[in-house]
Amino acid sequence: MKPIKQQRGLTRTFAAPMLIAALTLVGLIAALLGGGIYDIAAWITVGGPLIVATVLAWRRRR
């Protein structure tokens, strides 16, 4: 039982950081591939998590 529980714990812990990392990489590469819509995609995927994290941190302060 314990390894499964641990596994779940790790997934939970790393879900948000890994999602942010994936979005960041997508954005950094998108802006290289083209202008216009690609640049806008990059602003959202790289910049978005920063805003979301700030809001979450504000809400979850305790």
Partner: protein, 380 residues
Amino acid sequence: MKQRTIRAWSAVHTWTSLVSTAFLLMLCLTGLPLIFHDEIDAALDTSVWAPPDPTAKQLNLDTLLDRALAGRDAKVPLFMSFDDDRPVINVTSGPRPDAPGRDMQIASYDATSGEAIPPKTGGAVMEFILQLHTDMFLGLPGMLFLGAMGLLMVIAIVSGLVLYAPFMRKLDFATVRHTRSTRIKWLDLHNLLGAVSLAWLTVVGITGIVHTLANPIIDTWKKTELADLTAGYEDQSVPNKMASLDSAVRQARQALPDMTLQFVAFPGGSFSTNQHYAVFFHGNTPVTRFMITPALINAETGKLDGVRPMPWYTKALSLSKPLHFGDYGGLPLKIIWLVLDLVTIIVLATGLYLWFARQRASTADIRVRRHVAPRKPAAG
């Protein structure tokens, strides 16, 4: 995770960070203005120059080169580059073909008349910052040293990621416990900001390390990719009488008609062989504009020896530039880059604070134990 494992990763994280922090802070601070170097250069530049007659025909490149070198002490041409947005050529020369950067002279000329045009002003500050950021004015050893600091940073990121698990096990993402001790508050902030900047900092770190290897990468390219062109000429130096530059560039243009002319590397310099004009072009799509391809023209016979697409490692070097400096993707991406740079500075500062706080706590702990607990006899 076992206590012992955590302690080992913690030691890795602490020491890789402590050794590199001062240099990483310097890199963050100098890197900050470099994100906006295009904007800053444009703002600082008060020189106004417009071509007297934008429709005028450009002069022959041989004539332009002769005029450019006429008034100089350093007579050996090293590079000629071409501005994209105006009929201007920039000529770099040195006392010898293999002259180091500090001995080089550069100036810009109107390609329609050969007249020197006023140099852009205000470039010295950014030049200084870039040099500090690149090698701390120490040349190749400085570059490689900063590369090693980058490598330590990547190890610190990996170990930080491992440590994130035990520290955040019981906490939701982005929890900052600010009513507890200062140490807990800064620890939570350090973890949050580290998690947020993880991928970005890894990309900037790895591409930075690639940059520090630029010289060995270019040397390898010359030794392997251009080896067959120099076979049989190894002992020869730069030819005394050189074929027409203008004709060389014309042939190169014919060989690569769909690309944009960027610069010519003269024989004997770092980007060519002793026997060739290397005429470099870049692509016109967003990705290929970072990629350069040379056409090599024999400087003695004036004949095209071939077009050499760059190998993967020099392409990686080219792509590392925007990904490291963040000077792409429009102003919003640059601003995001600035925010992430500031986030990194906070991660470094809080990390340093946490180390100090722990040092203080453990010395206080020892003092308390000495006073409270009776001293045990030392184990033999």
